[in-house]
C-alpha cells in the first residue's frame, strides 16, 4: 500500500510538473526598428580653377554645426560654424578643401536642419541640396553622358567603416551597367569617383541605382560640358512625387523617372495647370530597373505643377536644359507647409513655389541671414510662382499656410543650378 501511494505521489509530482512547465517557444527574430538618419548631411564640394562655391546651413534653432571633410581615411578638415539666431550659416568651399572633389560631412546641432551647396564658376553653376544618410537602395535620375559631356560619379563615405556599394545603371536603351560598378569600395572617411562618361558613354539619359552592400555612402553625379555643370544627389525611391515646373526662357524641361524595381512600374502623371487639376495627363510603364524621360513639351497641357504616381518605388528628377545651361534636382516627395531652403540667395536666385491644392497659399520667406529681408508672397491655388530672391548669401525658411511644393534655382551667365529645399515635417 505504501509503495502504491509513493508511486502515485512521486509520479504525479514529476509528470504534473513536466506537463505544467512552460513550453519553450523559439524566439522569432524580431526585426529591429529601421534606424533613423542622424542629424547630418553630406555636401559635394569641388574646388578648382573653374569653380568655387559655398556651403550653406539652415536650421530652426541656434546650434553649432560641425563640418568635417575626410580624406584618405583621415579627417582633413574639422571646423565648427555657429548657426545664428536667423538660423543660417555659410562656409566657402575654399575653407573646407584645398582642391578637387570631396564630401563635407555636416553635423547639425538639431534634427530640423538642412544644408546645400552652390557652386559658381566659368564652367557653370550648380545647386544641390545635401542628402542625409540613406540606408537602402537609392536612385539618381536625370544624368547624361552625351557627346561633349562628362559625368563623374562621386561616392562620399564620411563614416568610420569602409563601404561597398553596388551600382546599376539604366538608360534609354534599358538597364545597362558596367562591371566596374558592381562593387565599388569606398574606404572610411574617403571620397571615391568613377568616370561614368568613360564607363557608360553616349547615354542620352542615365539613371543610377546605388545599393549599399556594407557601410554607407552619399552619392552624387557631377556632369560638365555643353556650357554648364550639373550636380544631382541620390534619393530614396518613393511611390509619389510632386514638383513645381520651373520655366526658363529657351530651356526645355523634363521629368526623368527611374526605378530599381525588378518588375515593371506603371507611372501616371497628374498636374495642375492654371489652377485646374488635371488627372492622368500621361501614363507609361517603366521596364524593370529602367527609366523614363518625359519632356514637358510632349505633355498635352502646359503644367504648372506635376505629380508623379507610381505603383512601385521610383526616383524622380526635374531637369532643365538649353542654351542658358542645364540643371537638375530631385523633385519633392510631397507638399509641405514649411521648408528649410539654404542655398539660394545669391544673385539670380529664384524660388519656384507651387500650390498643389485648391486653396491659395500665403507664403512667407524668412531670411536665414541675420538682418536679411523677409517677405510674403501670395501663390494662387494650382499654380506656380517664381519668387526672385534677394542676395542674402544663405537662404530662406519658407512657410506657408497650406502645403506647397518648392524648388530653387540659381543662375547667371555661366549656367543654371537647380535644387530642392528640405521639408520640416510638422513645422518647428
Amino acid at each position: 500500500m505504501t509503495r502504491a501511494v509513493l508511486v502515485v505521489v512521486v509520479t504525479a509530482a514529476l509528470v504534473g510538473g513536466w506537463l505544467l512547465a512552460p513550453v519553450a517557444t523559439p524566439t522569432a527574430d524580431v526585426p529591429g526598428l529601421e534606424p533613423a538618419a542622424p542629424a547630418a548631411a553630406v555636401c559635394p564640394i569641388r574646388l578648382d580653377r573653374t569653380a568655387d562655391g559655398k556651403l550653406t546651413v539652415g536650421s530652426t534653432q541656434i546650434a553649432p554645426t560641425r563640418i568635417t571633410v575626410g580624406n584618405a581615411g583621415l579627417t582633413a578638415t574639422d571646423q565648427t560654424v555657429d548657426v545664428d539666431e536667423a538660423g543660417g550659416a555659410a562656409v566657402q568651399f575654399a575653407d573646407l578643401t584645398t582642391g578637387g572633389a570631396a564630401g563635407a560631412f555636416v553635423e547639425f546641432g538639431v534634427p530640423a536642419a538642412a544644408a546645400a551647396a552652390v557652386s559658381r564658376g566659368e564652367a557653370g553653376v550648380t545647386g544641390v541640396s545635401c542628402p542625409s544618410l540613406l540606408r537602402t537602395t537609392s536612385l539618381i535620375a536625370g544624368a547624361s553622358t552625351r557627346n561633349g559631356e562628362s559625368l563623374e560619379l562621386v561616392l562620399v563615405n564620411p563614416y568610420g567603416s569602409d563601404a561597398v556599394v553596388a551600382i546599376a545603371s539604366s538608360s534609354e536603351i534599358g538597364p545597362d551597367s558596367a562591371e566596374e560598378l558592381s562593387a565599388v569600395v569606398v574606404p572610411a572617411r574617403s571620397t571615391v569617383t568613377r568616370n561614368l562618361s568613360g564607363l557608360l558613354p553616349l547615354r542620352n539619359r542615365l539613371s543610377l541605382a546605388i545599393s549599399p552592400v556594407r557601410g554607407y555612402v552619399h552619392a552624387f553625379v557631377e556632369g560638365a560640358g555643353r556650357g554648364d555643370r550639373v550636380v544631382i544627389e541620390h534619393v530614396l525611391p518613393r511611390n509619389e512625387w510632386v514638383s513645381p515646373v520651373p520655366s526658363f526662357d529657351g530651356q526645355e524641361g523634363f521629368i526623368v523617372v527611374a526605378t530599381a524595381s525588378p518588375v515593371e512600374v506603371v507611372v501616371r502623371v497628374d498636374g495642375w495647370s492654371d489652377g485646374a487639376f488635371l488627372e492622368g495627363v500621361f501614363a507609361a510603364v517603366i521596364p524593370p530597373r529602367g527609366q523614363l524621360e518625359i519632356p514637358f513639351a510632349e505633355l498635352d497641357t502646359d503644367l504648372d505643377i506635376v505629380r508623379i504616381l507610381a505603383d512601385g518605388p521610383v526616383g524622380v528628377s526635374v531637369v532643365v536644359e538649353g542654351e542658358a545651361g542645364r540643371g537638375a534636382t530631385p523633385a519633392n516627395t510631397e507638399a509641405f507647409p514649411e521648408w528649410l531652403m539654404p542655398g539660394p540667395g545669391s544673385a539670380g536666385s529664384v524660388a519656384w513655389v507651387g500650390v498643389p491644392g485648391e486653396v491659395d497659399a500665403i507664403v512667407e520667406f524668412l531670411s536665414l541671414a541675420s538682418g536679411g529681408e523677409s517677405f510674403v508672397v501670395n501663390v494662387p491655388a494650382g499654380t506656380v510662382t517664381a519668387v526672385p530672391l534677394a542676395d542674402q548669401l544663405v537662404g530662406y525658411t519658407v512657410r506657408s499656410d497650406s502645403p506647397i511644393t518648392v524648388l530653387w534655382s540659381v543662375s547667371d551667365e555661366n549656367g543654371i543650378g537647380l535644387g530642392a529645399p528640405t521639408p520640416i515635417p510638422g513645422g518647428e
Binding site: 509530482a13 514529476l14 513536466w18 512547465a21 534606424p35 542622424p38 544618410l133 568610420g160 572610411a188
Partner: protein, 920 residues
C-alpha cells in the same frame, strides 16, 4: 603408531602419499623448516629440496633438485599429493593434516594454509586472498592485523599463499609446477589461477597454520611482484578478456602511477615501467606458458571472475591514500572480506563499470583538461583575484559600470584559489578535478549509506557529473553551479554516515562536513539548502536514516549560509531569483519518460530500502521539474533547484540499477525494467562525451579581446562594449532598444564581473546611449562612450547593430574576425581621469595617480563610498585627487562576515586530519 616427538598427537596413518617440495630460500631457515616438516602429524613420503641456486647445505641429505620442473618430473606415480613449502616456513605439526583433511572434505585441488608471521606469532600474513580483474591482490587484511581466528572459515579464494599449499600430483604435473620466474606472492597467485582454470578448486584451510619468517620476501623488489602479476594475468585469461583487461589495466596503472607521482611517490612509476619492460622481455616465455595452460584449461575466465573483488584495488588504494592524506572520511576502509561480501561483490562487472565511468567522465570533460577551460557564459577566468576577493568582502564590485553589490561567492572561491597558487594556469582545473572526485566519492558513499552497493553507484556518479539534471548548468555555462554538485553530494553523504563515537573522529567528521558544505555553498549558495532538504527528505522517507542525519544537514546548511553570508546579506530576493545564469530544468520527452519508468517500477518493485531511495530521489527531482511552471529558473534559486534535480536523479538511478534475482518472477521483471530505464538514463548522459565539455558551450572568450592589446596601444580605454546575441555574451547582459550588450574590462570578461547588479545611474545612461546608437541618431558614439570609459565596441553577429555603427564617424571599424566586428574610438576613454588630464591607473580595487589639487572623475556608477571627498558627477563619481589614491570604503559588516567565512573553512581544514588520527 608412534608418539609424535613434539606433541601429544599421534602420527596418523596416511591415507594419501605426500611428497614435500621445499622451496629453498636461505641456509639459515632450512633446518627449521625441515624439522617442522619432519614433525608433522600426517606422514609424508619424503622431502625434496628445490634449490635453484645450488648453494644450500642440507644436513639430512634430502634430494635436491635445481628447479621445480625437475621435481615434478621425478614424482613417482605412487605420490598422491604434493605439499609445497617455503624454506623459511614453520608449519605447525598439524598443518599438513589439516590441509589433507580439508582437501578431501571439499574435493579441492589446491588448499593453502593460514600464514602467520613467525616473529610476532599473532600477525596475519595470508588467509587466502582475492584479486581484482587486473590481477591486483586484495587480502582484506590490515597491515598489522592480529590473528584472532576471525578468518578461520574454510572458503574458496582466488589464490593462496605459496608458503604452504597442498596440491594434487596430477594437477601439479599438468601445470608443470610453480613458475620459477615469479617472486613468492605472484607465484602463488599464478599457480592458484592456473589451478582454477584447469578446473581445480582453490581453497584456504585456516586450520592449517604455518609460521613464516618472510625471508623469501627479502630483496624482492616490488616491481618484480607487479611484473609477476602481469605475467600471471597474461597466462590465465582468455584473449577476449585480455583485449579489455590489458588496456584498461594499463591505463589504471598509469593513472595510479601518475597520481602517486603527484603525491610525491616516484617509485610506483618506475616500478610500472620496469614491470612492463620485464614482461615485454619475457613475452615469448609467457606465450609458451599460455599455450601449455590451454592444453589443460577446463573452465572459462568467468570462474576467475567469481573470486575477484569489484573495482580496481589499485585505484581504491589510491583513493584511500589520497583521502587519508587529506583526512577525508568518504568511503569504507578496506575491511574484512567475509563470505557474504565476496559473494555479493565478486563480479567482473565492477571494474568494467568503474573504468567505463571514469573513461566516460574523462571523455565528457576532455576539453577541461586538454587546454584552458572553455570560457563562455558564466564560465570565465578570474582576472584580478584581489579585486574579486575585495568585492566579495564588501568592496567595490567591478562588474559593468561597478556597484557596491557583492561579487558572487564562486568568484571569490576561484579568486582565493588563484591567489593561493600565484595565478598558476591550472588552478581552475584542480578545482574541477577536486569537485569531480568529490562527486564520485560522495555519490558512492551516499548510496552505500542508503543500502545501495555494487557498480550502480559508479553509474549514478556518471549521472551526477554529466547527467540529465546536470545539463541544466550548461544552459548558461554555469561552471560554478556544476562544481557545487561534488561537494553537495559529499556533504549529504557525510551527514548520513552515523556519527562516530570518538572525539577525534567527530572532530574530523565535522571538519569534513564543514569543508564540503562550505565549498558547495561557495560555488552555489543554494547548495546549503539542498543539503538540508535532501537530508530531511531521506530521513522522512528512507528507513534507517536517523534523525542525526537531518541534524547534521541543518548544521551543514548553517555552515553553508555562513560562508555565503557576505553575498546573501547584501543581495535582494529579486537578485537571487532574477539575475545570474538561466537553467533549463525541463527534461525532454525521452529522458522524462525514462525517469517516470524508473520511478514507477523502482518504487513498485525494488527490494528493501532501495524503493524508498527512489521515491526520495523522485520527489527531489520533481521539485526541479515543477519549478519552471512557477518561475523562470535563474540565478542562485535556479542553481538550488538544479542541484535538487541532480541529487534526486543520482538517488533514482543509483538505487534502480542492479540485477536482483531474488523474488517472484514479476518482481524481478519489474526491477529489470527500472534498471534498464535507469541504464538508459546513464546512456543518455554519456552522450555528453560527444561534446567533450559536459554540454557546456565552446570557448568563446579566451583571447577574444586580445586585439585590444595589439591595436589599442595608444588608447587609454578601460572598457569594451560587447554587443551580440545573449547566448554569445559573457555572463549577464542588459537589453535595450532590441540590443543585448554588456560592458567588460579591456582585459576581457572575468568571473568577478560576470553577474551584473541592478541598473544604477550610469547603467541607465549607458542604456539610453545604446538605444541612441541603435536608433541611428548618434553620429559620434565614440565620444559619448568615452564618458563611460568605453573605447571599443565589439559586435558579435549582430548585423543590425553593425549597420547602425556603420553610420558614425568617430569609431574606426577594425577587421578582426568573421563573426566579430570591432570599432575603436578616436576618443580617449579612461576609467579615471584627473582634472589635469592625467589618467589614473588601477591598483587592485583602487585608483592611483599623481597627487594633485584638483579632482578625479571615476567613470563608475555614482556611489558615496568612493573617496576622498566624494561628489556625484552626473551618474559618475568625482573625488579629490589630493592623496594620489582613490578608493571605495568597504562595507565592514560584509568584510567581517567574509573573514568569518574564511575562518570557518580553514577551521574545517584544520579539523579534517583528526579523522585520520582517529583511524590510526
Amino acid at each position: 603408531m608412534s608418539e609424535h616427538p613434539d606433541t601429544d598427537l599421534p602420527t596418523t596413518a596416511p591415507d594419501q602419499r605426500i611428497r614435500v617440495a621445499v622451496l629453498a630460500v636461505d641456509d639459515s631457515g632450512l633446518p627449521g623448516t625441515l624439522a617442522a616438516i619432519e614433525s608433522q602429524v600426517y606422514g609424508i613420503e619424503g622431502v625434496t629440496i628445490v634449490d635453484p641456486e645450488g648453494d644450500l647445505t642440507d644436513p639430512a641429505d634430502h634430494p635436491v633438485v635445481a628447479d621445480f620442473a625437475s621435481f615434478v618430473t621425478e614424482l613417482g606415480a605412487e605420490i598422491d599429493l604434493v605439499w609445497i613449502v617455503h624454506g623459511d616456513a614453520r608449519p605447525r605439526p598439524d598443518a599438513l593434516g589439516a590441509l589433507v583433511a580439508e582437501m578431501a572434505r571439499s574435493d579441492a585441488s589446491l588448499v593453502g594454509s593460514k600464514v602467520v608471521d613467525a616473529v610476532s606469532l599473532d600477525r596475519l600474513e595470508s588467509v587466502g586472498s582475492a584479486t581484482d580483474v587486473f590481477g591486483e591482490p586484495y587480502s582484506g587484511l590490515d597491515p598489522e592485523e592480529v590473528d584472532l581466528e576471525q578468518y578461520d572459515v574454510v572458503r574458496d579464494v582466488a589464490f593462496v599463499s605459496a608458503v604452504s599449499m597442498l596440491v594434487r600430483r596430477d594437477l601439479v604435473r599438468g601445470l608443470r609446477g610453480i613458475d620459477p620466474l615469479l617472486p613468492p606472492v605472484a607465484a602463488g597467485m599464478d599457480f592458484s589461477q592456473r589451478a582454477r582454470v584447469a578446473g581445480g578448486r582453490v581453497m584456504v584451510a585456516p586450520s592449517s597454520e604455518v609460521l613464516h619468517e618472510r625471508t623469501c620476501r627479502q630483496e624482492v623488489e616490488t616491481w618484480r611482484e607487479l611484473a609477476g602479476r602481469m605475467r600471471s594475468m597474461l597466462k590465465a585469461y582468455r584473449l577476449i578478456t585480455l583485449a579489455w583487461v590489458v588496456p584498461i589495466g594499463t591505463l589504471l596503472a598509469f593513472v595510479d602511477a601518475v597520481a602517486r607521482l603527484l603525491l610525491g611517490a616516484v617509485r610506483p612509476m618506475g616500478d610500472l615501467v620496469k614491470a612492463v619492460g620485464w614482461n615485454l622481455i619475457h613475452l615469448p616465455g609467457t606465450v609458451t606458458a599460455r599455450n601449455s595452460l590451454r592444453a589443460v584449461r577446463q573452465v572459462g575466465d568467468e570462474e576467475l571472475f567469481r573470486y575477484q573483488v569489484t573495482g580496481s584495488v589499485r585505484i581504491r588504494g589510491l583513493v584511500n591514500d589520497v583521502a587519508d592524506r587529506f583526512g577525508w572520511v568518504i568511503d569504507d576502509e578496506p575491511g574484512v572480506v567475509t563470505q557474504e561480501e565476496l559473494e555479493d561483490e565478486v563480479t567482473a562487472a565492477g571494474p568494467v563499470v568503474a573504468a567505463l565511468g571514469l573513461v566516460t567522465v574523462a571523455l565528457a570533460t576532455r576539453s577541461f583538461w586538454a587546454g584552458a577551460l572553455p570560457q563562455s557564459g558564466f564560465t570565465l577566468r578570474v582576472a584580478e583575484p584581489v579585486v574579486a576577493l575585495s568585492g566579495f568582502a564588501g568592496g567595490w564590485n567591478p562588474a559593468g559600470l561597478g556597484s557596491p553589490e557583492p561579487v558572487h561567492p564562486s568568484a571569490a572561491v576561484f579568486a582565493a584559489a588563484e591567489w593561493l597558487t600565484g595565478g598558476w594556469g591550472g588552478t581552475m582545473r584542480i578545482v574541477v578535478g577536486l569537485s569531480l572526485l568529490a562527486a564520485f566519492l560522495g555519490t558512492g558513499r551516499l548510496l552505500r549509506e542508503l543500502g545501495v552497493v555494487g557498480p550502480s553507484r559508479h553509474l549514478a556518479a556518471i549521472v551526477a557529473v554529466i547527467g540529465t539534471g546536470t545539463a541544466a548548468f550548461a544552459t548558461d555555462s554555469d561552471l560554478a553551479g556544476w562544481l557545487a554538485i561534488g561537494p553537495t553530494l559529499a556533504a549529504i553523504a557525510l551527514c548520513l554516515i552515523p556519527w562516530p563515537r570518538t572525539a577525534f573522529s567527530r572532530m574530523g567528521r565535522s571538519g569534513g562536513l564543514v569543508v564540503a558544505a562550505a565549498a558547495a555553498s561557495a560555488f552555489a549558495p543554494g547548495a546549503a539548502i539542498v543539503i538540508l532538504v535532501a537530508c530531511v527528505t531521506l530521513r522522512l522517507l528512507v528507513p534507517g536514516v536517523r534523525l542525526g542525519a537531518a541534524v547534521r544537514g541543518l548544521f551543514a546548511a548553517g555552515v553553508g549560509l555562513l560562508v555565503a553570508s557576505p553575498y546573501l546579506a547584501a543581495v535582494t530576493v529579486d537578485e537571487l531569483t532574477e539575475t545570474g545564469p538561466l537553467y533549463d530544468l525541463t527534461p525532454g520527452l525521452g529522458p522524462m519518460a525514462l525517469i517516470v519508468v524508473v520511478v514507477v517500477f523502482g518504487i513498485a518493485f525494488l527490494p528493501g530500502r532501495r524503493h524508498r531511495v527512489v521515491a526520495a530521489g523522485g520527489l527531489l527531482a520533481a521539485v526541479g521539474v515543477w519549478f519552471p511552471s512557477i518561475e523562470t529558473p535563474r540565478g542562485d534559486l535556479g542553481a538550488l533547484v538544479a542541484l535538487l534535480v541532480v541529487v534526486g536523479l543520482v538517488l533514482v538511478v543509483g538505487a534502480a540499477i542492479g540485477l536482483d534475482r531474488d523474488g517472484l518472477r514479476g518482481q524481478v521483471a519489474g526491477r529489470g525494467v527500472a534498471a534498464l530505464a535507469a541504464a538508459a538514463l546513464v546512456f543518455v548522459s554519456a552522450g555528453q562525451v560527444v561534446n567533450g565539455r559536459v554540454g557546456f558551450p565552446a570557448d568563446q572568450w579566451t583571447d577574444r579581446l586580445e586585439f585590444t592589446a595589439s591595436l589599442g596601444l595608444d588608447t587609454d580605454a578601460a572598457r569594451v562594449l560587447v554587443v551580440g546575441p545573449p547566448s554569445e555574451l559573457p555572463g549577464e547582459h542588459r537589453t535595450d532598444g532590441g540590443v543585448s550588450y554588456r560592458v567588460v574590462p579591456l582585459s576581457g570578461p572575468s568571473l568577478e564581473s560576470a553577474r551584473l547588479a541592478e541598473p544604477r545611474l550610469g547603467d541607465e545612461a549607458l542604456s539610453d546611449l545604446v538605444s541612441s546608437i541603435t536608433g541611428g541618431e548618434l553620429v559620434r558614439p565614440g565620444q559619448a562612450l568615452a564618458e563611460f570609459g568605453i573605447g571599443w565596441v565589439a559586435v558579435i553577429g549582430d548585423p543590425s547593430f553593425t549597420a547602425a555603427m556603420a553610420a558614425q564617424v568617430d569609431m574606426d571599424e577594425v577587421p578582426v574576425s568573421e563573426d566579430l566586428t570591432v570599432f575603436l574610438s578616436d576618443n580617449p576613454a579612461p576609467r579615471a581621469i584627473a582634472d589635469t588630464g592625467v589618467v589614473w591607473t588601477t591598483d587592485g580595487a583602487r585608483f592611483v595617480g599623481p597627487a594633485a589639487s584638483g579632482s578625479l572623475r571615476i567613470a563608475d556608477n555614482a556611489v558615496p563610498g568612493w573617496g576622498p571627498d566624494w561628489e556625484q558627477d552626473d551618474w559618475a563619481n568625482r573625488v579629490s585627487a589630493i592623496d594620489g589614491v582613490a578608493a571605495y570604503e568597504p562595507d565592514m559588516l560584509r568584510r567581517i562576515l567574509a573573514w568569518s567565512a574564511a575562518g570557518v573553512f580553514v577551521l574545517g581544514l584544520v579539523l579534517l586530519p583528526f579523522s585520520r588520527r582517529a583511524k590510526s
